[in-house]
Structures are given as C-alpha cells and as structure tokens.
C-alpha cells in the first residue's frame, strides 16, 4: 500500500509544485495551541513535521531551541506529543505527519514502545537528527515493519558513495540539508548551488521524494521551487515567538504565514 507521504508527493507533482512541509514543536506555545496550529496550517501545508522537544539539541539553531524551551517549560511530555498527533489525526486522517527529534527520548522510552505509540497515534514518518547511517540501520528496519517512514538525511558533506548507500537504505522520502548550518541559519549558499546538488542526488534515484530544508523562509522559498518538497521550520518558530511578544494570537499568525508560503510555490 502506498504511504500517505508518497500520496502527498504525488498530488503535488500533479499540481506541478513542490510539497510544502512545515515544522513546529509539539507543545509550543501550549499543548492546545500547537494542536490548533496543526489543524489550521494543514489546510495549506502538504506534510507536517512535529518536533518532540529535547533540552540538549546539538543541531538546532536559536529559534527552534526557543520553541523547544517554551514547550518543555509548559511541561510537555512524550505522551502529550502522541496525544496531539492522535487528536490531529482524528480530524485530518489523510494528512501525513512526521515526528522529528533526538534519539535519547526514543532510547529512554524503548525503540519498540516508541514505535508502538507512533503507530497507535497515527505518525507517518520519523526524523531522528542524531541517528545517522549506518547506526540507524536497525531502527529504520523496525520503522519499515510498522509502515512508518524513516527519513534519512543527506548533507553537503555527504560523499557520493555514502549518498548511494543511504539512498539505497531509505524509504519514500529523503531530506537534504541545504548547507552547513544548524536549523534556522541564514541561507549562505545560493539557491542555484543548492539545486545543483539537489539534482545530483536526484539522479542517484529519481523515484525517491527529495526535500530541501534549513534556511528556507518566505523570502527564499520560491527560488527552490524545483524540489519535490521544501521544509520551513525556524521561521514558523520565530513567528510564534514574535506573536507572543506582541500579544498576538500565534495560531492566526501561523495560519497566515503558511498560507503565504504556499502561495509562493504554486
């Protein structure tokens, strides 16, 4: 059976546009609001990434750290994250949702137990930032058995040989990190250069959906339209931070932002 993630990419392809993938942190700024945000932005976004926060993230920039910190301060636990997913899926059963986070939380809850919870709540995919290939081989197999997409990451430092191996071991979707940076860095490589690398990877296996993330905002998104999918994260987190500062409603602010992001790629 085709995964919901694959189906989403296929729909976008028919519309001749990249999939819009958003990233928000579960529990940011509150449990309720993060669910409301997912419900709202899912009208414009094709795939939703939801971060389960960790307090010692080694690859996240300031914006996502801020969101994680807020969520943890409000006492978010893994069981709340799964509850948010479950509630979201009740009203949006076909919208693919990907959980993203660091391995220690999975390790502490136990891989099998974690995956069981993913399955029960309706998680479609997983990105584990600090579990690279080949260390992730076992876990990725376990995901496959449960029909959960394990999403491999590629970066500008990944050699071609290594890319081939990783892609061979990947599921439906692969995530290309646009530049050497933590999340939310300023785009320091030209979109042309990024797309050049993107095409090289695509040539290795044209059938895998390849998305680009890191440094993408409403200013840069339209220049990368050729990709199968584009991930925007830090800008969403920043918008939540700003709206709290200005005492505005983060839910409507994010709705507007994601709507405008979508308009830039159609």
């Amino acid at each position: 059976m085709k995964s919901k993630i694959s189906a989403a990419f296929q729909r976008c392809k028919k519309e001749r546009r990249p999939a819009l993938i958003t990233y928000t942190v579960a529990g940011d700024n509150t449990k309720n609001n993060s669910l409301k945000i997912l419900n709202k932005i899912s009208k414009h976004a094709d795939i939703l990434e939801l971060g389960f926060p960790h307090n010692t993230p080694i690859a996240d920039g300031g914006q996502i750290q801020g969101s994680s910190h807020r969520a943890l301060k409000h006492g978010i636990k893994l069981k709340d994250v799964f509850q948010i997913v479950k509630n979201f899926k009740k009203s949006n059963p076909n919208k693919p949702l990907i959980l993203m986070g660091y391995f220690n939380l999975i390790y502490q809850s136990g891989e099998n137990n974690f995956l069981r919870n993913c399955k029960v709540s309706g998680v479609d995919g997983l990105i584990v930032v600090d579990l690279p290939y080949p260390e992730n081989k076992n876990f990725s197999k376990k995901c496959k058995k449960k029909s959960i997409n394990f999403i491999q990451l590629l970066s500008p430092t990944t050699s071609k040989d290594r890319m081939k191996k990783i892609i061979r071991d990947s599921h439906d979707m692969i995530y290309y990190i646009s530049m050497l940076s933590t999340t939310g860095g300023k785009l320091k490589v030209s979109p042309r250069k990024i797309l050049e690398n993107y095409k090289k990877i695509k040539r290795i296996n044209i059938n895998k959906s390849l998305v680009i993330g890191f440094g993408i905002t409403n200013k840069t998104i339209s220049s990368l339209k050729e990709a199968d999918g584009l991930v925007v994260g830090s800008q969403l987190c920043k918008t939540i931070t700003d709206s709290i500062k200005k005492r505005q409603n983060p839910v409507t602010k994010l709705d507007k932002l994601v709507y405008s992001l979508k308009n830039k790629i159609i």
Partner: protein, 408 residues
C-alpha cells in the same frame, strides 16, 4: 563485559565505536559524519607517525613542562595517620592544569589538517584557557564557548583567555554551564566544520574526541609510572590512584598506563551541596544510560530523557554526563567510583593548602576529600596517590566567599 589486556583502552570499541557494546558511539547529525570521519582517519595516521610523535613529545617536554612533580605529602600523611599519601602535581604543567595536553595535541592536529580556526568548550575555564594558549602558540584563531554562569564564577581564567586573544562566546541557553557550552560549541562546528577544527575539552563527545583527549592526557601516567618505579622500585601492590571525575579526562590520563597493573582506581564525582538533591555524579548516584553530546553514557536525566540539572561548587566537574570510558571501567569493575560533597571538597582544599606546599583547585579537592576519608583506615604500607590536576588560584573568589578567607 571485559577489559582486554595489552590493548589501549581507547581502542577497545566495536565497529560502531561502542565500548562494552553499550557506551560511546557517534550519535551525531549527518553533517558531522564526514568531518568526524576525516578527523578519525587523520588521527589514526598521526598516532603511528614517528615524526608527529616526536613533535608531540617535544612540545610536552619544552612547552607543557614534562614531567610534572611527584611528591610525598609528608605533613598530610602524618596528620591523618595511615596510608602514605602522594600527589602527582599536574597543576605544575604550563597553564596550571592537565587540559594543556589535549589542547596542545588538538592544535598540532588542526595544523596538520590545514585548519586556521579552532573552537572549544570550557567549564572551569581551564580547557578554554589552555586551548587559547596553545592556539596562540601555534598561530590558530580561537573561539571559546563558555556558560554565562561559569564566566561569572571563573573570572581569573576568563581574563587569561582574553589575554591570549581568544574570543569568548557566552552561552546563555539552559543552565548556562558546561553542558550548554559543549552543545553550543558542537552547533557552531555543524555550521563551520569546513574551515574550523573543534576541540572537545574532555573525554566526552563523539568517539574520536574521547580518543584524542585520553591519548593526550595519558602523558600524566606515562610520567607517573616511571616516577612510581623510581620511588618504590616497582608498582606497589596496594596502591590507590585517586582522581576527580567530571568529564573524566584527567582520570583517564592518570590511570591509563596502570591499566594492566594491580593499581586500584578510585574516581571521585561531584556530589554537590550536602543538602541539595542536585549533584554531578551520574556513576555514584545510579543515573541511567542515555545519549549526551553524541555518545551513550551514564547521564543525569529525567525519565523521558531530558538532560537533568546538576550542581557542584566546582565548575570543572559540573557536567551531567561522564566519559564512556569511565562507564566502561565502572561496569567492568576496573575502577570504583564515589562522590564528595561541596563541603567535603572545601575542607579538603583547606587542609591540604594549610599543611602542604600545594593548593589544589576545587576539582582535585574532591579527590583529596576521599583520600582524607580513607587514609586513616589504611596501613602505612598502603599508598595513595592523588592527581592534583588544578591550582586553587582560579577558585579564589568562590573560596573566599565560602570560607571567609583564601590561603594558598
């Protein structure tokens, strides 16, 4: 789980870089895979390269100052009655602590790798001070990440770093101590790994950093084993090597050459204030295995896997994790671990400084606290050696505040 004889401890990992199948590894973002692979290959080559080893030894001798003294603490021994107490005065090394070994080696490697920039983390400020010193010596631009709380409590070392021309980046996230400094430094490296070499300040982090650090500090025990043989004619049967452990770099260096001997290893963690639930003693207080800074290790954390808060009077030990090598030594029972409280460390500092010509910083004072506890129960045929790996001068402010006066 077993330690193999005749093989350096740092090399006793499997193909996934795990010690005892449980500790260490490389839990890192994809972007760092290649720089870490490159560094691993380079280091494997250099540690077999006679020219490089000669260079290392040259700088250890002429720049670090080797060997550091090995002395008997006659007054402390007489005062306590019981075991003979000795100190390896590593604080006599250039810069005043063991961190100089790792810093020097990292700078030599960075030069070999053709990097112009070097970055590092620091807690007590020693790792940062030494890296800034060595960077200056070898002509590298240096950036040091340090928790804002540590910047306040370890001012003397901060001043030194500035004098050496390093840029100090205050880290204001989380607890604003060493754990956050290491995270921020790793994040910086993720963004700049093409131009910049990273030095992790202790035997923690992805495997290669554990290896380089332990390989560098091993100089301490290379000297000590000769000094011990000179003093006693051989390695005595009942000899205890006491060392404080935070990340664990000085203890690894202090014990390395004695691994296959009968010497007993005792590691002393930071127990924190007497009346506080917080501590920095994951081995003593039964913390579970978790992933921190790229490696599996015993780590202070909550049930979910969020890294826990720590508390210790000594910034250098104030770290929720512990080197995977120490986890390995603990589970194989090769080393024993215990903790000393803030108060016990302060008392030990006071007693040693009063009686002897050395004045240990708050980190080794934790080890002296254990020596003071056990020495009276032992016989005069027993030997205790404490690694005095730092000088109290950097803790002057804290000591004055806590004890009313500072002696040295």
């Amino acid at each position: 789980m077993k330690i193999k004889k005749g093989i350096p401890l740092i090399d006793q990992h499997d193909k996934n870089y795990m010690y005892g199948g449980k500790f260490g590894g490389n839990y890192i973002p994809e972007t760092l895979k290649k720089p870490i692979d490159d560094l691993t290959k380079l280091f494997n080559k250099l540690r077999k390269d006679k020219k490089f080893l000669k260079k290392r030894d040259y700088y250890f001798e002429n720049y670090v100052g080797s060997p550091t003294p090995f002395i008997k603490l006659e007054n402390l021994t007489a005062h306590l009655g019981g075991a003979k107490i000795y100190a390896k005065v590593v604080s006599e090394a250039n810069g005043g602590a063991h961190k100089i070994y790792n810093a020097t080696v990292h700078c030599l490697i960075a030069k070999k790798a053709g990097k112009k920039y070097i970055v590092g983390d620091t807690g007590a400020g020693y790792a940062g001070k030494m890296l800034s010193m060595a960077a200056k010596k070898f002509g590298l631009k240096c950036k040091i990440f340090m928790g804002a709380k540590d910047i306040k409590r370890q001012r003397p070392n901060v001043e030194e770093m500035k004098k050496n021309g390093a840029e100090i980046v205050p880290v204001t996230t989380g607890s604003q101590t060493l754990v956050d400094a290491v995270s921020e430094c790793m994040r910086y490296w993720v963004s700049n790994c093409d131009t910049t070499h990273m030095c992790v300040g202790s035997t923690v982090g992805p495997n290669i950093f554990i290896k380089i650090c332990a390989w560098s500090t091993a100089q301490i025990s290379r000297e000590l084993i000769n000094q011990v043989k000179e003093e006693f004619g051989k390695v005595p049967k009942k000899m205890k090597l006491l060392n404080c452990v935070g990340g664990g770099s000085s203890a690894m260096g202090f014990w390395n050459e004695f691994m296959d001997t009968d010497a007993e290893f005792i590691g002393i963690e930071a127990g924190g204030p007497k009346n506080s639930k917080l501590h920095a003693a994951p081995l003593t207080k039964g913390s579970k295995i978790g992933i921190l800074h790229g490696a599996a290790q015993y780590v202070v954390q909550d049930k979910e896997g969020q890294i826990g808060s720590t508390e210790s009077i000594s910034a250098g030990l104030d770290y929720p994790g512990i080197s995977p090598l120490h986890c390995f030594l603990k589970d194989t029972k090769r080393a024993r671990y215990t903790s000393a409280s803030d108060e016990e460390a302060l008392k030990a500092y006071q007693l040693v400084s009063k009686l002897e010509n050395i004045s240990p910083s708050l980190e080794p004072s934790h080890a002296f606290a254990e020596a003071i506890k056990i020495a009276p129960k032992l016989r005069s045929s027993d030997t205790i050696i404490v690694n005095s790996c730092g000088d109290s001068i950097k803790d002057k402010d804290i000591i004055k505040k806590k004890l009313g006066s500072y002696i040295r």
